[in-house]
Amino acid sequence: MGARVTTSSLTLLVGLAALSLYALAFGQISLSFGDALSALAGLQGDELVSQIVLDIRLPRVLTAIIAGGALGIAGVLMQALFRNPVADAWSLGLLAGGQLGVALTVTAAAFAGPAAVSFLTVFSGPSITVAAAIGVALTAVFMLALGRKIGAITLLVVGLMIGFTAQGVTSVLLHFAARAGGRVYGGWSDASFAGVEAANLPWLAAPVLGGIALAVFTAKPLTSLLLGETYAKSLGVKVSSLRWLALAATVALVAPVVAFCGPVSFIGLIAPHFARALAGSARILPLLPLAALGGALLALMGDVIVHAPWEQHFLHLNAILAMVGAPIVILILVYSPTVKGWR
């Protein structure tokens, strides 16, 4: 089993590296692999090429990798925490909750006056991450409580509905915030990895790294939670503190992604299923690298398609993710043995 995880991880890593290089070399403007590599090495003579590779594409590629990886790991945590094979930050409405948190903050600032708005603009990285974290955490707690009352598939439907509701409210709020002079974030109902500049990458990466550390730390007890609360308890796990830790890890992973990239759909739901298939196991710890790499690969694929040199067109990231992701979810729901008990 260990060998299987190692081989799969290395394969995914190689694929991710190759795709990253492609994404650095090709976009609306086509460079060459050589150009991209020399720019990375700092040997690129053409300043424009170097700027396109290092200042525009590299932050985007890193953002896609970090965000996709974070969502993949968060998906593994949530599917264990909710004991629900279709749980993920997007499907259970956590991303929309995070967006709503940011929208409320921006609206409050807009009505509070220009000083509040410019504070938000200056400290946009940390302040929107905190706002998103509050939204994500509240939604997660609510869904956990609800998850004890209703079945997994019902919870999925409720989660999607909560997502729609929160996004509707977010859209209305941002509209009025814009009218009140709080136009801090625009075009945010779609997901995108292109909006993060290099200076903000640490704000994205730091909470995600913290979340990964927590995920690794909770991996062992979370595995036993897959059998249910009583069995986990009988195996010596303190279930309530485990829940809080896993929840904290999820929030740390998801909140910066919502704050910087918007509601990235489907990746967190699908990546854990790929990871389990590759590992041939559901033990959490080996799933983490696989889900992270798989999520990163999915995210980067979506981004590469969005930024392919379509003339004068921009495709929407979530449209691409939905075209690929929704059929996969349908296949999972209909055929996957992991959903058998919930069908």
């Binding site: 974030y185 075009g187 995108s192």
Partner: protein, 228 residues
Amino acid sequence: MADLTHTQQIERVRTLGIPVVPTFIDAEPHYMGRVEWVELVGLLVGREQEAQNFVFDVEQEVARLKELASAQPRRSLLWAWYEGSGDRWSVTQRNADAALIRDANVELVLGKEDDPRLDTFSRLSTEQLLESATDADCWMIRDPLSTVYTRHDLLERFKAYREDCVFWQPGRRHPDADSWEVWEMGHIRPDWLLSDLIKIAHPELRDGDYRYFQPETWEAGDGGTGHN
């Protein structure tokens, strides 16, 4: 009726017993075409002479401004509004909007051949601006609904940014009417727009008094509201 895509509605409105006179103002291939619709409105409300005088005045003023601009050295202007999502720009390229810009004795950077089947603008990426638009003398960077573009490291590559010739369009907001004047009056007062444009493109003609445009502040906010 803004343009020809709205023709299906004509019959529906007529069935309600309302007489319809289609005015496809947005479909006009030239900016002066929009102004001439005022004569039709004048005819309908019985103020034909007044309308004719208005159109004549605008034509005169536009001609005067074109003359004024043509005496200045030719300059180049990039008209690209930041749409958000990190790297998306609406770049004005053709048709009526492009014609007005060109009449300010300006070369429209990234401009294209007119094509009535296409919008006046296209969506381009930051990369494409970096590749082809860094030499523009001036840059119109956002409209009232765009977010502020804050990648100063990339902006540094643009001549317009380095030489402090970046403008935006607050457009004179009227909060009571929830409207922006530039999208209402602006359609029939190309002379006002052209006057602003000339001042932007030709530093010698600047007097600091702009109607719809302002130097970019690089800060969020609507840059002041309607003040008549």
